[in-house]
Amino acid sequence: MQLLPSPVFFEDNGSNKYGTEFGFEWQVTPLSYTFKPNKYLNHLSVLMIKPVKKFTGSAELFFTPQYALGSFDFSKAQRYLYNTGARVYFPLAQGGEYLSFSLGAGYYSQKNEYNSKVDGIMYEAGIYSVFGMFGLKFAYKQNAVSKYNLGFYLKYY
């Protein structure tokens, strides 16, 4: 679970105008399963996940509330939204400490200007470095008014 949020940019796409909005997201991981932990560590983690358990290879459930600081002037979407789903981490270099990546999919939910729910399937990919403290995450939301999100993953150990 993140104590402090990570910054994220949201696409703000209207019928003929385009912009971006800046905001934050909180990354909550209710459950994580490490594929191959050492014998002293459990496969499962709840909320608190040690970096080596995550970035050496794991699958996790996530819940990510997001909040845009400014209003979505073009798409007229409401500022608060959330994603939830599952993602998998794979190490690429130095046990994932130097480089790792993730792939995920799930469900997003947001409200439009008429307070009607807009929801659907979302996909995401992330790349992480420096012991998993920094990363970039890209998300695509099918049929959403704000389809694309680019987020910075920041985690302070």
Partner: protein, 321 residues
């Protein structure tokens, strides 16, 4: 929202102000684009049939110790960088493929200059089920590679009066976790969250030979003397850095050369071998400053003949068969 941003900035500052990454970036700037200095005439076969006790200094705290027919590797770091930003200034003293099949590996603590996941990954295929000993807490930093991980007690960072934490015998080698004064953690704040006490020194005993490996430690006027009452140490491998001016015994959690000499004298060991210098940049200092200071002090303490300084890549026999 401004408050949130302030909290974020303060947290980032504390994160990097508290650990060495920021200093590493500053100190490593000039060397970031240079290849590490070449080590010439690296030893290809370090297994010596005529040696009872020998050490090949790979660099920093990485040492290949031969005790009769046993090969022990301490704090192996063979990668070009540690923590991404800190580049080694000189190559490892042996090629990875020339490290013989090991009988034991030890990890003194999880700091980036003592624990390299890249190195563990490189060595794992040749050393399947190799016993790897470490103090409690280090398991939180180890991937599930196919080693025989053995967690040893250290009295929560040797908080009591007993300088011996634990002992175990594997492959005929008896390993003791012994007093060290340092700190744990790997990333910064984690040292205070779940890894604070994950550090130790080691004593290895085999066939009547005893080797002390200090890892990284500060000086304590009581604990090392207590160890000398229990162990007759043939070789003490003691850190002498990092430091830039290197005056005095050291700080709370590191010894400088004078502190290393005091540890050596308290241990009543037969030979001192300085380690933990010469490879990774520390602030803007010359990486060999600790050695220069040590050389000055050896005369003063009259232990020149008991000190053996190795070059990186050099192998020295301390006791012949």
């Amino acid at each position: 929202m401004k408050l949130l941003l302030k909290i974020l900035i303060i947290t980032l500052f504390l994160q990097f102000g508290g650990c060495t990454i920021f200093q590493e970036i500053a100190g490593n700037g000039p060397s970031a684009f240079k290849a590490p200095k070449e080590v010439k005439n690296k030893i290809i076969n370090p297994v010596l049939p005529n040696a009872r006790l020998s050490v090949l200094w790979i660099g920093h705290a990485s040492c290949l110790i031969q005790m009769d027919d046993k090969q022990i590797l301490t704090d192996p770091v063979l990668t070009t960088t540690i923590g991404i930003f800190s580049k080694r200034l000189i190559e490892p003293g042996i090629e990875t493929e020339n490290i013989p099949k090991l009988d034991l590996m030890s990890l003194s603590h999880p700091h980036i200059d003592h624990l390299s996941l890249g190195t563990l990954n490189e060595l794992k295929d040749k050393n399947k089920n190799l016993p790897v000993v470490f103090p409690e807490g280090v398991e939180s930093y180890l991937p599930g590679y196919d080693y025989n991980y053995i967690r040893m007690h250290n009295h929560n960072g040797y908080s009591g009066n007993n300088p011996i934490g634990d002992s175990v015998t594997v492959n005929g080698i008896t390993i003791y976790t012994v007093y060290a004064r340092h700190w744990g953690g790997r990333y910064g704040l984690d040292g205070f969250l779940w890894g604070e006490h994950s550090y130790t020194g080691f004593i290895f005993q085999y066939n009547g030979l005893t080797v002390y490996f200090g890892g990284d430690t500060g000086y304590d006027p009581i604990s090392f003397k207590k160890l000398s009452e229990r162990f007759d140490i043939d070789l003490a491998m003691i850190p002498i850095g990092p430091c830039d001016e290197c005056n005095g015994c050291g700080n709370k959690r590191h010894v400088y050369p004078e502190g290393a000499i005091k540890i050596f004298m308290d241990l009543k060991a037969k030979v001192l071998m300085p380690i933990h210098y010469g490879v990774f940049q520390f602030r803007l200092a010359d990486v060999n400053d600790p050695l220069y200071k040590l050389e000055k002090l050896l005369k003063e303490y009259n232990i020149e003949d008991k000190t053996q300084t190795l070059k990186i890549g050099e192998q020295r026999i301390f006791i012949n068969k």
